[in-house]
Subunit: 348 residues, 2 copies
């Protein structure tokens, strides 16, 4: 089958990738749409650093195959934001959705040999290919005739929902969202569904600011003209906001510690993969709280699909291009420009 | 009157300090005991850096005189951990404790010109002198015949109580306390009063480890032999701990992010006044939470005095020396050795 793979830092399109075969508890699916995630761009460029950093971490929960080694000198399969059609079911397996149905799933493959994240792998195929395996009990059938393109946004929107859940928002609290890329937009959408207000959103890109408004932000600013903090002073009625960091580059966290109102909570949902310098004293003197976030749980993933399918969240304007597998190398290059693109979907 | 002051980085003892006069809402007190705080040592050495860092911070609550400028080229009064006897009451003022009584108070001086922290000031006298002013409505009479030396520990022990309150501990949760200086010991004491267990405590100093045990730590380790994380693996029954950072030097926070079990909460009560480098990815991949802490509220301050006076917390072993004003310069030098000293009290 055909698939776009990462090979020594380059995205290549292969015609001769081995077709996967479903085992016990697995289904074979045909990928209908798969979003390109910013973390995939980062992994393509800095995969070695990311793997080295991951190895330093202690105290991670044991996830069986979660510790799968990735060899960057071999082809790496990626693509974890997918919607797909069920083609076949493994032996002695009951699937949560019938053959022929459109499904999505958390990007985790259960196998007899452990639990494998579908994210970066030399063996487990992802959504940047024609076919892949999913876990039979984890399938979620896409309801309401929702197109595969929109269902593929379930995963990134679940990231926002999870971050909002981790924020422990109380009645009457508002939010500042710094950065309106796909992650920031997902946060804004989840805040809006929950009825949170005001939602101050800040981004340098006019296109992203328009999307922030579409997703439900109430006060959208260009930081060159008015910072998110200034907008909060104007709109926040003197309350301490919950601040969502959805930028993920070095320096942002220290800037937040320096500028956030006293007693604020900061939810870090942007993924900064580099060393970062902070002044703890800024956080101490205002008693700030930092909540780091990652991923989502199965209920949040299902809730994200439901919100999209019920029309609570309109993801259509986030999709700025649809490409085939041959377009993946160029798409990885194009996504660097925030004013050109938000979410590019691969239609294998 | 006599007072030890900070003058251009040196601790000097002055014989000719102007005696303070109580204004409306103030009382004059005679200092009976005043603890030397680690933050005073740091301010004596790095006062310029600390003042510069403070000026960068935005979003601080307005505290009237809280923004008092400190001129390091003039004498600076310090000493915020005090017990004192009420000598005189200002005009038209009703004090919360009678003349002749032993009192303590939060280190804040209310005046007609605003609210002044009693911490570092060119004008507001602190506890390293014979006499000082306190706020008449904020006096707490020392009960149960508690000696002034023990009452002077109210303030540092309140810091620990506040940190424990900020930790939002739930039934059945335990704690790791990294660093057993006065702040770490105050945290351990507050945890023990609340019945939290296990309490893992780690410090390189044998003397501090003995104090940690006295304060109620259940598993006390020398990190050269067993880390706090290893002790938690042994004692924590597989739960995620609340981690108290009571060391306050660069590098500790990143080490905690790297080593703490997934989903841990980290309470930063050590005051790191320098730039610090962290890897946000460590915190992200384990969804850690960081709560920065500072100070205490009036209820916590009163609760701290009550715990000491009722014998719930025995602070006596923390007091490793009592000195007079002439001994203050040497005491600032001596406090660098953690195995020699914990809390030195100035008896002016």
């Amino acid at each position: 089958m055909r698939a776009a793979v990462l090979h020594r830092g380059q995205i290549l399109v292969r015609d001769d990738v081995e077709d996967p075969t479903p085992g016990l508890g697995q289904v074979l699916v045909e990928v209908k749409a798969c979003g390109i995630c910013g973390s995939d761009l980062h992994f393509a460029e800095h995969g070695g650093d990311m793997l080295a950093l991951g190895k330093q971490i202690e105290g991670m929960p044991s996830l069986g195959g979660g510790g799968d080694e990735v060899d960057l000198d071999r082809d790496v399969y990626m693509g974890h934001e997918f919607a797909a059609e069920v083609l076949d079911v493994g032996p002695d397996t009951e699937a949560a959705a019938p053959v022929g149905s459109l499904v999505t799933s958390m990007p985790v493959l259960l196998g007899m040999d452990g639990i494998h994240p579908i994210v970066y792998s030399n063996t487990v195929k992802g959504g940047y290919g024609e076919r892949m395996l999913l876990s039979a009990p984890m399938l979620l059938e896409v309801p309401n005739g929702l197109p595969a393109q929109h269902a593929a946004l379930t995963e990134p929107m679940a990231v926002g929902l999870h971050a909002v859940n981790k924020a422990r928002l109380e009645q009457g609290e508002g939010a500042i969202v710094l950065g309106c890329g796909p992650v920031g937009l997902a946060v804004i959408a989840a805040l809006a569904v929950r009825g949170v207000g005001p939602i101050v959103a800040a981004d340098f890109s006019p296109a992203r600011r328009r999307l922030a408004e579409h997703m439900g932000a109430t006060d959208i600013v260009d930081p060159r003209e008015e910072t998110g903090w200034q907008a909060w002073s104007r709109a926040g009625n003197g309350r301490a906001p919950v601040v969502f960091e959805a930028i993920g580059v070095p320096g942002i966290l220290d800037d937040i510690l320096r500028c956030a109102p006293a007693q604020s909570r900061v939810v870090v949902v942007g993924v900064c993969m580099e060393h970062d310098t902070i002044n703890p004293f800024f956080g101490i003197s205002k008693e700030l709280n930092i909540q780091f976030c990652l991923g989502y749980d199965p209920m949040e993933f299902a809730g994200s699909l439901r919100s999209i399918a019920e029309g609570e969240i309109d993801v259509a304007p986030m999709i700025t291009a649809e490409i085939d597998l041959d377009g993946v190398p160029q798409a990885f290059a194009d996504l660097g420009d925030p004013d050109e693109h938000c979410k590019i979907l691969v239609i294998p």
